[in-house]
């Protein structure tokens, strides 16, 4: 992935206040669906050409290649098929990794919305902090990340067409990614 894609485009215009509000509602609504485990509803927010990526974070010296190091490996590199399979699994009776379910709370802040490359698309940046608690006494896990989303207007509502997640840890401290970020 080109790391520059994750920086805000200097020459791109901010969206207007109404669109910003619409984007903000979309992201909060999506977080609520994921926290509640309403995966089918979450899938209905995705376009069928979705790309959903989370490259590994590699510690590199300043000026050295970042995301391209270590072969461009990712934690997630998904399309509609693989996300649909992951969701189908979580909705079955035998996904032990999430049974009992983790208690999650997704905190989404620092939102910025930009006009996209086509008229019906917006680029939305947000910060994400996920609190994840499993079972009883074990300490909770935190996941901190930035998201760069491409949101597409389909009819009157927004859909997620692309998500690039920048994870803030080289070594994840959550035991698996049985949750979506």
């Amino acid at each position: 992935m080109n790391e520059q894609n994750l920086e805000s485009p200097d020459d791109a215009a901010l969206v207007d206040a109404t669109t910003h509000y619409e984007i903000s509602c979309f992201l909060s609504n999506e977080a609520a669906l994921l926290d509640a485990g309403h995966y089918s509803s979450w899938m209905s927010l995705l376009t069928e050409d979705i790309r959903y990526r989370m490259p590994i974070s590699v510690t590199v010296a300043r000026g050295d290649a970042g995301a391209e190091a270590l072969g461009g490996m990712a934690h997630f590199d998904e399309d509609y098929y693989s996300l649909d399979k992951r969701v189908a699994r979580l909705q079955g009776d035998h996904a032990w990794a999430e049974d009992p379910r983790s208690r999650t709370r997704r905190f989404i802040t620092n939102q910025r919305g930009f006009v996209g490359s086509t008229e019906d698309e917006y680029i939305a940046y947000s910060y994400l902090l996920v609190f994840r608690s499993r079972l009883d006494v074990r300490p909770p896990e935190w996941v901190s990340a930035q998201r760069r989303d491409v949101l597409r207007k389909v009819g009157t509502s927004l859909r997620l067409a692309r998500r690039d997640i920048t994870i803030d840890e080289a070594v994840l401290r959550t035991q698996n990614l049985a949750i979506f970020l």
Partner: protein
Amino acid sequence: MDIHQVREQVEMGKIPAGVYSDPGLHQLERDRLFSTSWQFLAHESEIPNAGDYVVRRILDDSFIVVRDEDCEIRVLLNMCRHRGMQVCRAEAGNASHFRCPYHAWTYKNTGKLVGLPFHTEAYGGESGFKKSQTSLASPPRTGITRGMIFACLDPTAPSLDESLGGFDFYLDLYMNHSEEGMEVRGPQRWLIQSNWKIGAENFSGDSYHTPHTHVSVVEIGLFMEPKANRRKEGALYWAGAGGGTTYKLPTDDFDKNMAHIGYPEEMVARIHDRWSADQKKMVGEAGFMVSAATIFPNLSFVHNWPRVHEGAHVVPFISIRLWQPISATETEVLSWFVVDQNAPQWYKDDSYKAYLMCFGSSGMFEQDDVENWTSITSVSKGRFSSQIELDSTMGMGDVNGTLQEPLAGWPGPGEAHVGYGEYNQRALLRRWAQALSGPTAPNGKDGWRAPLNGDMARTTS
């Protein structure tokens, strides 16, 4: 826990649960196992060009694995000879030199010290401090096989090839698909609250867990077989330093079986030139293809073949993973995707996708495995539970023999059994108990640690 008593229990296939969390046993692992065994560090394809490096650990020892300006691969202790600062704090990159941030001692990527500020004023020059004879330390032994770079902290250990023994026959099936060799992506790295041995045991021979632990992955239609209980038709093998599981393939023809699991013709043609007659016989005539495996103590492999597009044929993937202990109850997992560097791009893309869907930090198999392993680790800490003997006797008819005779005419080295059994888990834990209980160390003292300042020679090519 008393290791000698544990060893007796392990020999009988009775595993006191505390082996998965006891800090005393973990200290013995550090002193007697990880300081004497060959440890995987990196694959050559991670550092293709002069100056490329990655930083990897053997427990708490940090090593720079670097290709020097002559393209020779070096393994250098990441610790300045002056005050012990890490000379490299990145995980990967390209550098001709490593300069210590503390006092600017500077080392070439061969490890040789070439820069020492105020050498004359501070030390009286070469007669005061032999700069020209100083290098970053190197582990006493390094070895490379099939592009995989290993190191060993014990100067008296057998060579890498000798240590692998008969397992190298099976290693080819994962890591030798063309003359040019494999390439890797990654590793993904994540921490799990699990003892490192549980993953190593699981990959070595636990075909018995697949039908239940991984039933969800079968239910969503990722595989050709409608039920995961086909697993019992596979063979379990152990040879030399490791063992693994296999799947039974539908025909007795090598090419047909390779096509069945999704290898395209051009890759099979290259593999034909790399695998011996017996290796091809294992996959063809005998009809067994490797799946999960472990090289003792903590290096595992996995090979499987799911669907990555709706309605499409399956595509194989291969992964290497290292169970790097942090403590008795915590493990860092490093997981690489592996593919023949000559494979067509569409195959590399699909195989990578197959890997991500199944294994690694987000993999649907791995998610459920880790849930089990963290639970075992956590519950084994109890004063009562730690003493309970877990049953690892599957396949033993009684203590004197095995229920199942080894498979006759198995084409590979070592012994193989068809069906479920814990032969390999017992073999792995037996080696573990032997390593921990003695003979203690070359000098006979407890707590012995291998010296670090050995020679820099590569022991194998």
